[in-house]
Symmetry: C2
Subunit: 113 residues, 2 copies
Amino acid sequence: MGSVSSPYKRHFFVCQTQRPEGSEKPSCGQRGAAQIYSRLLEALDRHPELGQEVAVSACGCLGLCFDGPIVVVYPEGTWYARIEEADVPEIVEQHLVHGKPVERLRFKWQTAS
Amino acid sequence: MGSVSSPYKRHFFVCQTQRPEGSEKPSCGQRGAAQIYSRLLEALDRHPELGQEVAVSACGCLGLCFDGPIVVVYPEGTWYARIEEADVPEIVEQHLVHGKPVERLRFKWQTAS
């Protein structure tokens, strides 16, 4: 038996923030985040062989509220924005199962440098 | 202006799961997770210079429910277990501010190999 710092090759965090109707900012919850989270969990159920290396967790606000629904995947730090339920099969097949981020759905963080 | 995949050097996720009294499993929420989350957010407020490189998010169940409260920090994949509010200043000073995990609080994942 050995010890590792983290067992997961990929850990998906899916924002589930729900703001009331009429709020100043939109929220991922108003834009289908619960369905996206469910689809990812179902995919994990269909792939029990990944249970030791992939995790899917709900999370609170990740910022980028105007670009939700937001999903971030660590350790590699892939940020997905404006995901629709129809995008989920591609994320599952390419990224969750095979470890390859879906480039067209990535949020492009801008840096000053 | 450049584009980066993820802007954060350290992203803390603090489990906030709250199970009803009498549940089969304990939950981080029953063990002070809300206070730990608040203390980490307050620390971030006191260090505005870290605002672009450190994030703190609430999250749902991370597993390890019997060893909570649980905090995981990515991208390096540091898992903290059985954290008490009194441990937070050390986590803040060493890890959140200076990027150095607090070894004595790490959860030791066991592997078969």
